[in-house]
Amino acid sequence: MTPLLENLDYAATVVLLLIGLWTVLADSNLLKKLMGLNIMETAVFAFIVTSGMIEGGAAPILGPDAAPPFMAPIPHALVLTGIVVAVSTTALALALLLRVHREFGTLEIDELRKRW
């Protein structure tokens, strides 16, 4: 067991994740919900990058001047893939929102409920 203070960075990513989740659940604007989703995604990326960190480590770029220890490189590769997935989800969601706006004239949940 390590106390939470030692894992402060992990704790911060959980806070970011929950802020994003709160926006997704509670905000009344669909675009804001999408931003909340993006915050959640980046929070998970931050968690994964943090897990691959090593104290006093160097970036995983090998060469004559570089000396171990290196940061674990796999989390970085995973996060790169994750960022791309996130942007393509966001783009599709934005296109869907344009369609919603064309059909109903609003992106506010309360208004949408009335015009459904």
Binding site: L5, T42, L97
Partner: protein, 77 residues
């Protein structure tokens, strides 16, 4: 125990995320989101992940924000 730099940056990140969550003006929220992404990019550079930082700056803060702005402009006129 994390360094002071990390603590300050993480606090700022959380505050910016809260500001995004609370902003009523959509364009302001989008710009705040870009600021949030750039700060995250700084954090990752500090964590020894320059590749991730570059991608976040170009994709997260760049392309995503621009797409958000296009849609905000189109849905508010």
């Amino acid at each position: 125990m994390s360094e002071l730099f990390d603590v300050v940056l993480l606090t700022l990140l959380i505050l910016t995320a809260l500001a995004v969550a609370r902003a009523r003006d959509l364009a302001a929220a989008a710009i705040l989101f870009a600021a949030y992404s750039l700060m995250l990019c700084l954090l990752w550079l500090h964590r020894g992940a320059p590749d991730v930082a570059l991608t976040e700056a170009a994709v997260g803060a760049g392309v995503t924000t621009l797409l958000f702005l296009v849609v905000i402009a189109r849905t508010s006129r």
